[in-house]
Amino acid sequence: MAGLSAEDWTAFALTMRLAATVTVLLLLLGTPLAWWLARGRTAWRRPVSALVTLPLVLPPTVLGFYLLLLLGPHGAGGRLTTALGLGTLPFTFAGLVVASMLYSLPFVVQPLQNAFEAIGQRPFDVAASLGAGPLDRFFSVALPLAWPGFLTAAVLGFAHTVGEFGVVLMIGGNIPGQTRVLSMRIYDHVEAGEYLQAHALSLYLLAFSFAALLAMHLLRPRRLIAHD
């Protein structure tokens, strides 16, 4: 690709690595959470659901600020990670992963929750009457019927992580190869008056985001994605 410097490429590769890591981790953690939110029977569902959707309305800087306090050397999280021998997370790739996971959580959990809810009770009743236990029902009924939700969740989680800026700014800083992601790199270019480079990166990001969303819509022919 023309117009990209070695540093731009480093930022690009880092962004992809971050988005892929976050997406995989979120799918693993978000699936049981979404399952519980969709089918749990306790009163805790609503407050937890509100908490999960909080990053949708919160300015990323607010989230990043509190994470900085929490995970910093004087925060509870920071003391825990130090005691575990992990050091403090802010201004590291791991810290960026944790922050991005929180920030992108609703974009993964909500499509999964919607997909699980859309299945309804009937297929699970049928499976139970045919002798399928709870775990069997999850793998033989819920997963295959909810796969469009997984596709949406993966694409949205990935694309949203690629596009984040505020959280990175607060907790990641701007360390090349560690926390300098594409959005930071574009900001740097603009700050330095390098509009041509900023243009090139921005266009790539725009094209990538559009392609990802288009692919998602093409792969789900039946109904459009819905998240609010």
Partner: protein, 363 residues
């Protein structure tokens, strides 16, 4: 109270809003037991509780000596461990699997010991021709046939059918009813059949549990419950008896068969029956005309049966009453106006002739 080891015992108490359920049902270990009643009677609620699909319903459920649920000891065997087959009102095939995928799903989880001879059922229900099809391309009747075979392949110890015909059009319904009749003859597994259609119940059921507004109105053998006319008031237009007998003659020219039963003989339209077949015939109370003298030869009714009036019941409409008749031990019901009852001076013990149109018997 001693526990009957065989069969199914169900005691349920349940309240949700206006609807209250309070039932004590006994299901014999053989044959088809119909849960019969108008919509809103609580039939499906009972069936779901028996299957273990509604754990909120309190009560006690025991099957063949195993306690499936006992709210007093907080015992609750989950649905997937109850070895039931459940067929829902609307087809409920897994949309992500083909027909054969749906059947495999069931067969892989079959809970019985011996191998299930599934080929017979595939052919009997015409499912063998559908195996490669996608679920979405099936007609309503085909889906329900697949759903029934799928339930059978899981090798259930108790089969639960929740109005399996109610979502079908008339031809599909009639076809599937025939399949179920055949199944009734072949299958040893006790079956509970929920329905609000008397013709289905009359053809399939051996035992009847009549329900209304969350309560059991009566339960017992099909013939005796129907003969006593113990149906909910709103269903009194469905009153009638079921007579079981043997085909003793057939008239090839007029396409009629003659059925011999304990109290006499009846002519009815021939479907596919042959001489020697055993047959059930429902005689609706509305289709019986009474006269106090032997009808003249000028009547079109093919069947004239001598009977004795055994009693009288009130009907839903104030103009009518239901007359219970005794035909040499076989019960018959006739729905007539109160005016006729008076003008014919009928009373228990009266000698009457009951006329039944053969065309009314073509169920």
């Amino acid at each position: 109270m001693t526990e009957v080891a065989a069969g199914l015992q169900v005691q349920l108490q349940y309240q949700r809003g206006e609807f209250a359920l309070n039932v004590d049902i006994n299901v014999p270990s053989r044959g088809i037991t119909a849960l019969f009643g108008p919509s809103g009677a609580g039939k499906t609620t009972c069936l779901r509780a028996i299957a273990g699909l509604d754990p909120d319903i309190a009560g006690r459920i025991a099957f063949a000596g195993d306690v499936w649920q006992d709210s007093s000891t907080r015992r609750l065997v989950p649905a997937h461990q109850r070895r039931i087959g459940y067929v829902f009102q609307e087809a409920s095939l897994f949309p992500h699997l083909s027909v054969s995928g749906n059947l495999d799903y069931s067969q892989r989880r079959a809970r019985g010991n011996g191998p299930v001879d599934h080929k017979v059922w595939l052919e009997q229900f015409g499912v063998d021709r559908l195996l490669a099809r996608k679920v979405g391309s099936l007609s309503g009747g085909e889906r329900q046939r697949v759903a029934i075979v799928r339930a059978l392949l899981s090798d259930p110890a108790l089969l639960l059918l929740d109005e399996p015909l109610s979502a079908l059009d008339a031809p599909a319904r009639s076809e599937l009813l025939g399949c179920l009749e055949q199944l009734h003859a072949d299958l040893a597994v006790p079956t509970i059949y929920v329905s609000h259609a008397i013709d289905e119940v009359a053809r399939l059921a051996d035992h009847l549990v009549v329900m209304e507004a969350g309560r059991v109105l009566s339960q017992g053998s099909l013939q005796s419950i129907l003969a006593h006319g113990e149906l909910p008031r709103v269903m009194s237009d469905q009153l009638g008896v079921v007579i079981e007998g043997q085909v003793v003659a057939q008239d090839q020219v007029d396409h009629l068969i003659e059925l011999a039963f304990a109290g006499g003989r009846l002519w009815l339209p021939q479907r596919a029956e042959r001489v020697g077949d055993r047959l059930r015939c429902r005689i609706s109370a509305r289709d019986v005309v009474l006269s106090t003298s032997a009808p003249a030869t000028g009547s079109s009714a093919l069947n004239v049966i001598e009977a004795v009036v055994a009693g009288r019941m009130e009907a839903a409409h104030p103009s009518q009453c239901i007359v219970r008749l005794d035909v040499h031990g076989t019960a018959l019901l006739a729905s007539i106006t109160r005016r006729s009852w008076r003008s014919l001076a009928l009373a228990p013990g009266s000698h009457v002739w009951a006329q039944v149109k053969a065309t009314a018997l073509g169920t």
